[in-house]
Subunit: 160 residues, 2 copies
DNA sequence: CAGAATTAAATGCATTTGCAAATATCTTCG
DNA sequence: CGAAGATATTTGCAAATGCATTTAATTCTG
């Protein structure tokens, strides 16, 4: 294990050579950090955290997913989601229902109140989103999203 | 498009119409979530968390930044970074030094041990990074990074 | 030059998070 | 059938996080 570890690193470019500003994961973390923090004030007003907000967002599009599926979409641990759902449920924003065919599993649904809360938040998400893409032409935007889709297909573990 | 009046909720496209798979922030969160979690095992072996790892990464490129500057680069609260530095300092991976010209401020430096730890981690970062971009041609990669740079310029608050 | 306002970093504290284990249910296959 | 293994979700617990406050030092203003 000794020589192998040393040899393994030899021909890699170093981060300093690539440059932080050209390293895609760095740029993506910076951008998403700001997107998320721009929404934090609005979320706080509505009593939401990031996973809770993402759950509402996904549920506004996908009706009645299993909890484990929802966890993939919102990029959170199942335990984190489980507790986020406890809160959303207590606030009447979502409803959990045991799956008809498998009583271990739970499906999650947005309530009318939950949809109303998301509708309050959505304009702010659009605003942050628009701001990110300001001055970037449509064809460049489309190419960018196309590349993102390829990247997700490359790295995702789940077929969703 | 109809007219160019101020935004009202009625005018906004809905997330379901755009589609999750075409909504860039969703895709970016999914991708970065997997990039970060792919590194988590390796980080855990080295006693690192995400902010600690990012601090080492940035310090491998930028020597002696102020703590508040470093916080911007690693996309973390100053308090989170402060405690991360406590740990990195205790483990001998970084060194904090009061700024010569402003004794409120602290500059952070990577130690040799810190650089060695980052050098252990870096090949795994490159591997995750390469996996993300697998099958994506060079010109598309460059265009993608170019768009990211424009986006960061659009949304950043700090001039770094 | 003094006092107020600002800035840098650290700390208190409540909440959130993630891992691991527990619980409950389903599936497989002898 | 029924025990062993797999799967879905929840829960215990320690660690990490974020907000607000504190401490310390600098800059601004009259």
């Amino acid at each position: 294990m000794t020589d192998d570890d040393h040899d393994h690193q030899e021909d890699l470019p170093r981060l300093g050579e690539i440059g932080l500003a050209n390293y895609a994961p760095y740029l993506m973390n910076r951008i998403m950090g700001r997107y998320n923090s721009a929404l934090r004030d609005e979320m706080a007003k509505l009593g939401l955290t990031t996973p809770k907000m993402r759950a509402l967002a996904v549920l506004s599009v996908i009706d009645g997913p299993l909890i484990r599926e929802l966890a993939v979409y919102i990029v959170a641990e199942q335990s984190t989601l489980s507790r986020a759902l406890d809160q959303l449920d207590a606030d009447g924003l979502v409803r959990r229902e045991t799956d008809a065919g498998d009583s271990r599993a739970t499906r999650v649904f947005l309530t009318d109140a939950g949809r109303a809360v998301f509708d309050t938040l959505w304009p702010h998400m659009v605003e942050s989103f628009s701001r990110m893409f300001r001055g970037i032409p449509d064809d460049e935007r489309r190419a960018f999203v196309g590349t993102l889709q390829k990247m997700l297909a490359n790295i995702r573990k789940h077929e969703i």
